[in-house]
Symmetry: C2
Subunit: 206 residues, 2 copies
């Protein structure tokens, strides 16, 4: 049986991972595969969101005055592009780490400091991306429907293509943030089970 | 020693919580106390945020036309008030549960289904409150600085008192959401250590 817990001398009981343990190696492999998939999907979606928003541009002429709508006109979209860019780079690095870890093998090779670092970064990234998405959605809704009480007129009827592409970008960012939340949950699982020893940890040590 | 893990017959090793364990009862009590404090603080701050925003109102007269600014004029503030109201009620209920659990005693009385339910609700609440705060901050920033590219004029110089009170409400909501994030992390810890059995779980079973 493969043992992931610390080897304890004498009669000190040990909690095992492995085919006979409560968290079998096959489940461990599935968790790892899910992590890689989620991180890859988050990376791809974040890149797509940033690309759609970054390349979004529409020119219109009003009474011989040319006006260009860009994502840089709206601070929340700029923040969303930056947040997605950072999330994509981070997910790519983490994806590579996961793949190296899988190739090298080992059922639970995470040390506590590394698990803490990954968990903290994942949590921060998830909250950053979700906050950026929420802020962008608020601005997008004002652009779409306006806020007449404050004389903030809707602008999407003037820049339809721009708004449609921005909507696609925000949708991709929402999907990316959902993946980041999944990743954050998985890394919480990977970290905090290192502190376990409850019901699930009580397994046969033979 | 008080045992939180499953009682296993014969020579099956058990992971213990307690004074001699890896997660001693004193630490367990501190975690519980921190959870109660965080939940109470989240409840208080969410109530304060909702009250500040809900009671926010300023009347101004422009060219003999009376205009009233209310939080209902801005959808994101309405959502923030609702989110904080729900978060306050939820935190109050959870706080009561924690206190009952402490009074009744027991080092780790959480069952897996209950821990999963609490963890899921805490995560959802944290993400909802953070999203609501981010959306409200975006609207508040547009109100404060405007968005000239879309002819969205700043309005805070017209309704200074309204904006100051709304800012206070948003600040309280930010503090409440920080507490909700802390609570979500604690409940992740409480859930996933039930799945543990790694290094930390290998403790003396005497």
């Amino acid at each position: 049986m493969r043992q992931a817990g610390a080897v304890s001398p004498g009669n000190v009981p040990v909690c095992y991972y492995g085919p006979g343990g409560r968290v079998p190696a096959s489940l461990e492999r599935r968790v790892r595969a899910a992590e890689v998939l989620l991180r890859c999907a988050a990376c791809g979606l974040a890149v797509l969101a940033a690309a759609l928003l970054g390349a979004d541009r529409q020119t219109r002429v009003f009474f011989s005055i040319e006006k260009v709508a860009r994502y840089t006109d709206m601070q929340s979209l700029v923040i969303l592009v930056i947040a997605n860019g950072v999330a994509a780079c981070y997910s790519l690095i983490q994806c590579a780490r996961c793949l190296v870890s899988i190739v090298r093998g080992g059922v639970l090779p995470l040390s506590r400091p590394l698990a803490w670092a990954i968990f903290s970064c994942d949590q921060v990234m998830a909250y950053i991306v979700i906050s950026a998405v929420a802020a962008a959605m608020e601005a997008a809704l004002i652009g779409k429907y306006g806020q007449p009480e404050f004389q903030w007129m809707k602008t999407c009827h003037l820049y339809k293509r721009f708004c449609a592409q921005a909507g696609g970008g925000v949708a991709c960012a929402i999907a990316a943030s959902a993946n980041m939340v999944g990743v954050a949950l998985l890394s919480a699982f990977n970290l905090f089970r290192l502190y376990g020893g409850g019901k699930a940890g009580a397994t046969s040590g033979k």
